[in-house]
Amino acid sequence: MSASRPPSTLAATSAVLAKELRLERRAPQTLTAMALFSATAIVIFHFALGRDEVSGALASGVLWVTLTLAALLGIGRVFVADSEEGGLDGFLLAPVERSALLIAKALSLLIFLIGVGALTSLIFAVLLLGPTPSVTQWGSLAIVIVLADIGIALVGTLVAAIAIQTRTRDLITSILALPLLIPVLIGATRACEPLLSVGGGGLATRWLMMLGLYDLVFGLLAYALFDYLIED
């Protein structure tokens, strides 16, 4: 009797991703909260540090503390709309691979993280950053941010899938996500340090490779674990 044929993982991913982006466009909560937090944090750093310009390790630290805490806001909201009216059950009732949800959720979080990363970097460059980065350095910075954001999106989606099934969602998100994100944050800050230094340095290949490896390991781990996390 059924008038349907089970869709491919790509088709299901595309359906969930389109729904995620439509929901965010319709009721912009995640991106707005993350962007407002980032902008506010940079302004606070600007006054709290008591100096007009920062560079090198300090600049990298300020940038990644801001981006990490903003990311936590986004991670905390990954499954909120799904839990409110049973949207997650709606997905689980469909004849599709569960990994489609992981890929779509991680992609949508990645899009939000990259958007906030771009905005935060611009505000940071205007308000705090000492050396004005060259076009090449901006490009290198973008590579580091995207690589780090891939790792954050994968870990964030996994953690969010666990947290949404608990009553202490926000607490669980922070407790689980922050320790898991330490390697990616160390890699990102170290990779950014020469790019934000006076005189400017090049890309630190070693740290980029570490970020790439982290993304690969957590990508595989997320793929292997996700079914168990969202199913009963």
């Binding site: 059924s2 044929r5 729904k19 009216e85 709606g90």
Partner: protein, 231 residues
């Protein structure tokens, strides 16, 4: 594997929440095209039974098969044939009815779903408000949308948890062709209405604290006997 003239087969089904047995040894067979109505007081296990058959919960012991698909092995195949209507609409409040149905149509791989969606919205009287956000709907309208979602992919088996709640008499008539006996589908219905439920049942299951205390053809039972479950 069960033969395909059987819509649902449960054998020794046990489902636990921690130490508590929410379902304790359910054995039943529902033939295609028949309706099983499940009665029992709050917390008896009706919703849990529906969720296990829908593949939303796993059985801890025993087996469940839907239209010949063992849910442990072929859950994905079974889901194509299951329409589930629970206590939540499974729709997003910030999307419109059409957007919600289009999303579910894509998840079920329905080719060219627009015509089907339009027909369902007309049948449930939602067509004029199909482009409004669900957040602005009354509870009855949300229930009608949830019914559209449940039957969107034309499933063979309907799992209905108090399907007529929040619906006025006119709306109940409107959705009859979709989820009532007229739909021609196999159905498992959780109900609190002994007389009404008995009227549309072929088979009756009575649950108390997760245990089956009554399993009989509807013709052999009276509403009074079913009412005893609630005392």
């Amino acid at each position: 594997m069960a033969s395909t003239d059987q819509a649902v087969v449960c054998e020794g089904l046990v489902r636990r929440y921690g130490e508590r047995r929410a379902l304790d040894g359910i054995d039943l067979t529902l033939k295609r095209g028949q309706t099983l109505v499940v009665f029992g007081p709050n917390g008896a296990g009706k919703t849990t039974l529906l969720r296990v058959i829908a593949t939303l919960l796993r059985a801890n012991e025993g087996s469940v098969s839907v239209l010949g698909n063992d849910l442990r092995k072929n859950g994905r195949e079974a889901r194509s044939e299951i329409g589930f209507l629970g206590h939540s609409s499974l729709c997003y409040a910030d999307l419109t009815a059409r957007e919600n149905l289009t999303y579910h149509a894509r998840l079920h791989g329905i080719a060219d779903p627009d015509e089907r969606i339009e027909r369902l919205l007309i049948e449930t009287g939602l067509e004029s408000r199909g482009d409004e956000r669900v957040a602005g709907y009354s509870r009855g309208m949300v229930q009608r949308l949830a019914i559209c979602r449940a039957v969107l992919h034309e499933p063979e088996l309907l799992l209905l948890d108090e399907p007529r709640s929040n619906l006025d008499p006119a709306a109940i008539d409107q959705v009859e062709a979709l989820i009532g006996a007229a739909s021609g589908r196999s159905r498992v219905i959780a109900s609190h209405d002994p007389a009404g439920g008995l009227e549309e049942a072929d088979l009756v299951l009575g649950l108390r604290a997760g245990s089956p205390v009554m399993l009989a053809p509807a013709g052999e039972l009276t509403a009074e006997q079913i009412g005893e479950l609630y005392r």
